[in-house]
Amino acid sequence: MAARPVWLNPLRMRLPIGGWVSILHRASGVLLCLAVPALLYALMLSLRSPADFAAVAAFLGGGIGFLFVLALIWASLHHLFAGLRHLALDLGWGEARGDARRTAWLSLIAALVLTGALGAWIG
């Protein structure tokens, strides 16, 4: 059997909104998976001494550390909302196409808006 040509151009693929929320659920999950050891390290330092606590707070409060915090806040919120949507779908809630699209948009936007609000509140 002759090999069939496979040509997938990601730029020409139109992912429905549920697909975007799903792939971002994965991406945010991977980000959080990799962040676990770093977060434990920060927890250890923050509890060790007042000087270490101040150093962790200073690092997370500005520059690259703050970007890291924002990325983790977004990843946590997106993963949480997309995950709650998944649990609802497991129970058979919101499976109709219109409902599924609305909850997908809702989880995507809620995570972004809350990340912005929390970032503004902290920063």
């Binding site: 998976c33 434990l40 927890l43 509890l47 101040a54």
Partner: protein, 114 residues
């Protein structure tokens, strides 16, 4: 190398993934509420927060849920994208080891506070 996973294991992981998700969704808002109600949240307040036994146990259970959830999630992604078992199995093992180390480390951090 055909039967490295049992037919039921996937179902157990599926259930554990949801159980750990629910546990985290309940614990995290409670923890944030507790932490943010301490004002000002300085070193003394932060340390005092973790001095209670209930907080240590709750935190360790939360971290265990995070680690189990993380490993099962990574397993799912590896199954989708890394097909050769000779690569996938060592990756399972690598992250399982890393996360077990994290669990013991977390216990040490929490109970080392005294």
């Amino acid at each position: 190398m055909r039967n490295v996973g049992g037919a039921r294991r996937g179902l157990n992981f599926w259930l554990l993934q949801r159980a750990s998700a629910v546990a985290m969704a309940i614990f995290l808002p409670l923890f944030l509420g507790l932490a943010l109600s301490r004002s000002p949240l300085d070193y003394a307040a932060w340390r005092a927060l973790f001095s209670h036994l209930a907080m240590k146990i709750g935190s360790l259970m939360f971290i265990a849920a995070v680690l189990a959830h993380a490993w099962i999630g990574l397993r799912e992604i590896l199954i989708d994208y890394v097909h050769p078992l000779a690569i996938r199995l060592p990756l399972y093992f690598l992250f399982a080891t890393l996360y077990l180390v994290c669990l013991v480390w977390a216990a040490d951090i929490l109970w080392g506070l005294g």
